[in-house]
């Protein structure tokens, strides 16, 4: 069930979901700030939101474009940013 309180364990679970590794020192630093904000978010409960549709985005209409071929950007400059390359392939550590 949803709850307001977040403990240290929950912080680590959230970090894992966010693909972040949080050291003990960092957890000490971040914990207070995270809890403080979550506590502040609870203020939203004071407003009656019954009957209000959520605003998910502000774009005025759903604009579509023609399905036509266009120039693709040159991929070379993109590849030069890769940390490790083998020919035109980006290298990562072994998956298995």
């Amino acid at each position: 069930m949803a709850h307001d309180a977040m403990d240290r364990e929950e912080l680590y679970v959230t970090a894992q979901l966010a693909r972040l590794e949080i050291s003990r020192d960092e957890a000490d630093r971040l914990e207070k700030a995270v809890f403080q904000m979550l506590e502040y978010f609870a203020k939203m409960k004071e407003l009656d939101v019954a009957g209000l549709e959520p605003t998910t985005q502000l774009a005025q209409d759903n604009r579509l474009r023609e399905d036509t071929a266009a120039d693709t950007r040159d991929t070379e400059p993109l590849l030069t940013n890769a940390p490790e390359l083998e020919d035109r392939l980006i290298v990562i550590p072994n998956v298995l």
């Binding site: 966010a18 590794e21 203020k43 940390p83 072994n94």
Partner: protein, 471 residues
């Protein structure tokens, strides 16, 4: 306009160009507005044959916006060596008129902060007082303009990130209507809130830059065709005024801001404006709704930074999962991690109704409140920030209070409305700004109102400002 004419055609006058470059480099050693400054490298992409008023005019670009061949660092360790392969549409449109993007300005990492102190790559000072912050997150852009290095500079505004540093530095700060300026080339932070804006020394420069940038872009499907708002009435502009300071607000106004607020309310009728009280009852909920939405969207947008295709990679990782985790953990700063954690938490299964969905419903209420206000008035006047520029470091403002202080700026982002901060006074040698908000696509009303006030009180020159670049 004499002061501003010296910028035009700067790149075709070798003597002036040299004098200006020397001034810019010397001044920036004190201010630290730029992460990269190289007027010649950028020249190649500008249409130097253009004959419009922007031809040869230098401008700066927040380093969250792509400009080839500069690096696009986002103020982050993770991207400190990332070279962008393309240029943002907004920048391209200025370049097509001959303006020259001379450098990339410092910022809070990924636009997250109110002081530019969250930059991993540089320290920016306020040209009015080098011990104080320039504001943020577009602090480098505002500082460069206030120091007199540039007539205008681009920033991005997700919750006040152009208007607040502009107010801290005594210049104009425009946050356009959501969708009015293409975001192609802007690194996404919170996609339903982000907009590219401009910090400028005069209303005229803000207007020229905005007019060049605005309009639909096939590369950004959230950009809109620019159909200017038309006022139904003629006659004096009606300004809605909030009843400030009546109740115990979470963040009380600093006496300097309070004095400027009171003085401006006296000045506006003399300048031909009509004042009318308005209420925005949802204002006390905007900060919580804003941070829920901004963090949720940030946690999704920043998931792309994985150290695989680009960016700093943790070399010792033994598998792809570890590679992503370690690269992100080392490359990202504390404030960015905090917002990613908050965003991830509020989107976790079971919590969405309580946080994200509720925040989106509150967002609807905020829009309704402003719709109601704009049925009665043409503009709404608000403070920008509860205090003038604060000190750097521990003597400054703690990060939580900085967030609460977004109360006056972030409603424009939640409602998608344009807003413009303008200088109204100098208190104890620090500039103070207020802002007008307007209906969607009513930027012209903002220019008109700020321009009227500018004749009464122009942007004050900071101690570093030198109209001749003599120094």
């Amino acid at each position: 306009m004499e002061k501003s004419d010296r910028w035009r055609g700067l790149f075709s006058h070798p003597d002036s160009l040299e004098r200006w470059q020397a001034f810019a480099r010397r001044t920036d050693q004190k201010v630290g507005a730029f992460l990269q400054f190289d007027p010649t490298v950028a020249l190649a992409d500008s249409d130097t044959a253009a004959s419009g008023p922007l031809a040869g005019v230098p401008f700066g670009v927040k380093d969250l916006i792509a400009v080839k061949p500069f690096r696009l660092t986002c103020g982050s360790r993770l991207l400190k060596d990332f070279v962008t392969p393309y240029t943002a549409t907004a920048v391209q449109r200025l370049q097509a008129q001959g303006a020259v993007a001379v450098g990339k300005t410092n910022l809070d990492e990924f636009g997250m902060g109110s002081s530019t102190e969250n930059s991993a790559l540089g320290r920016t000072s306020n040209p009015w007082d080098l011990e104080r912050v320039a504001g943020g997150s577009s602090g480098g852009s505002a500082a460069a303009v206030a120091a007199g290095i540039l007539p205008f500079a681009l920033g991005s505004d997700t919750g006040g990130s152009v208007r607040q540093p502009a107010a801290f530095c005594g210049v104009y700060g425009l946050k356009p209507t959501y969708g009015a300026v293409s975001r192609y080339g802007l690194t996404a932070y919170a996609s339903s809130l982000d907009v590219i804006g401009v910090a400028a020394k005069t209303v005229a420069w803000a207007r020229e830059a905005f007019t060049a940038m605005r309009g639909i872009d096939p590369r950004d499907h959230s950009s809109a065709e620019y159909l200017p708002f038309r006022r139904s009435l003629s006659g004096p502009l009606r300004v809605g005024v909030l009843p400030l300071g009546k109740e115990g607000s979470a963040v009380p106004l600093d006496p300097a801001v309070e004095r400027c607020w009171a003085r401006t309310l006296k000045d506006l009728p003399k300048l031909g404006f009509t004042l009318k009280p308005v209420e925005i009852p949802s204002l006390e909920f905007v900060v919580s709704a804003y941070y829920v939405i901004a963090c949720a969207e940030a946690s999704a947008n920043l998931a792309r930074f994985d150290g695989i295709r680009y960016g700093a990679r943790a070399p010792e990782a033994e598998n792809p999962e570890e590679l992503v985790r370690l690269s992100r953990s080392r490359g990202l700063g504390d404030e960015v991690k905090l917002r990613i954690l908050l965003g991830t938490y509020v989107l976790r299964s079971g919590f969405q109704d309580q946080y994200y969905l509720r925040a989106q419903r509150i967002r609807t209420r905020i829009r309704q409140d402003f719709d109601r206000a704009f049925a009665e008035v043409d503009l709404v006047l608000l403070p920008v920030f509860p205090c003038p520029a604060f000190r750097r470091g521990d003597q400054g403002m703690d990060p939580f209070t900085q967030k609460l202080s977004d109360i006056f700026t972030c409603s424009a982002n939640l409602a998608g409305l344009p807003a413009m901060s303008f200088p109204v006074g100098v208190e104890a040698n620090l500039p103070v700004g207020l802002q007008f908000m307007a209906p969607a696509f009513a930027e012209e009303l903002l220019f008109e109102a700020c321009g009227t006030f500018e004749k009464h009180f122009p942007s004050p020159d900071s101690p570093l400002y030198d109209p001749e670049w003599k120094g």
